[in-house]
């Protein structure tokens, strides 16, 4: 229904702006209907301005900035309508240290109401774990799972 979509749109805009600023430690962002009058059919444009920078075409953003912007949008949707489960496969691959730290912090907050399964090669993200599993292939081509402590991660050949 038109009203439900309008409410969802307004909520998403506000939440996205908030999450973006949290993950980037500043800056501003917005998601905007290509036609303000037509919430039933119009597409969505993404506006993103990292802290200290001038607002430009989203394609000029760096690899890490694009990843963090996408995550802000997905997490915003998540906060508005939580799912019991969220799976992230190497979502932090292109993030530097400080962005990874904020990413890991946000995951811990979202994980209060949601079970998160996060695949990573990054130590900072690993440290955010409540439970840590290592996957190994000691026998070629055959995967096995082992429960791990942080102190054991060197042994199984990860970061």
């Amino acid at each position: 229904t038109r009203r439900k979509l309008r409410e969802a749109y307004d909520a998403l805009r506000a939440k996205f702006a908030e999450v973006f600023t949290t993950l980037f430690g500043g800056g501003r962002a917005d998601v905007v209907l290509t036609d303000e009058e037509n919430v039933l059919e119009a597409g969505l444009d993404i506006i993103a301005q990292p802290p200290g920078k001038k607002l430009q075409n989203i394609n000029l953003l760096s690899g890490g900035e694009k990843a963090l912007t996408s995550l802000s949008l997905l997490f915003a949707g998540f906060l508005l309508k939580p799912s019991p489960l969220c799976i992230l496969d190497e979502a932090d691959a292109t993030l530097d240290e400080s962005n990874t730290t904020r990413f890991a912090q946000m995951i811990r907050e979202l994980a209060r109401d949601t079970q998160f399964v996060v695949i990573t090669h990054n130590r900072t993200t690993m440290e955010a774990a409540d439970n840590l599993y290592g996957i190994t292939m000691e026998e070629p081509g055959a995967s096995k799972t082992i429960s791990l402590q942080m102190s054991e991660i060197e042994a199984i050949g990860v970061a």
């Binding site: 990843a67 691959a93 399964v117 690993m126 199984i156």
Partner: protein, 178 residues
């Protein structure tokens, strides 16, 4: 609702039965390249009803069955089992909750969903160990909110998709929140 555990058996590189228990909070999975981490993500998608082989990096669905390695023979079947505990608030929300097959050794607030695929092409869906249709599984997930939303599973390398998408293809963001 909470997922208690997922079990893979003959699914992709998991030749032997493997169980991952999921507790509250953040579960992190690590390991070297090619050891099977993304295959676990594929297992979740598959048991949640994924019908497209392409979404699992395959061309045909039978590619999810363990195809053998230098240390193992191929398997004849792939199976993924999801154990879910349904918390009381759930049953009061869904007055028309899916009628679950009663199983003597399973509490009624606990559900076990399984999917199997045989080399013959035959496939099986089970709800608390009784054969059922894919539709029954999907209805259960809709009731419990476990249906795969677009933002619940973020595949490796696909994080940039939302930015590269055409504006019209981003509508799912407001449609799923509504």
């Amino acid at each position: 609702m909470k997922i208690k555990e997922i079990e893979l058996n003959g699914f992709k590189s998991f030749s032997d039965r493997t169980v991952l228990s999921l507790h509250d909070g953040v579960t992190v999975i690590v390991g070297p390249n090619g050891c099977g981490k993304s295959n676990i993500v594929d297992a979740f998608r598959w048991v949640l009803g994924e019908q497209s082989a392409r979404s699992l990096r395959g061309e045909k669905m039978d590619e999810v069955i363990f195809q053998g390695s230098s240390s193992r023979k191929p398997k004849g079947m792939a199976e993924v089992t999801l154990s879910i505990s349904l918390t009381p608030p759930q049953s009061k929300d869904t007055g028309n909750a899916t009628e679950l097959p009663k199983d003597d050794d399973t509490a009624h607030d606990s559900v076990v969903v399984a999917r199997r695929l045989y080399r013959s092409g035959e496939s099986d869906y089970l709800l608390n160990k009784r054969s059922c249709r894919l539709k029954d599984i999907k209805d259960l997930f809709l009731d419990t909110g476990l249906d795969v939303k677009s933002y619940s599973i973020l595949d490796q390398g696909r994080i940039g998709e939302i930015l590269n998408a055409r504006p019209i293809d981003r509508r799912f963001l407001i449609e799923e929140v509504a």
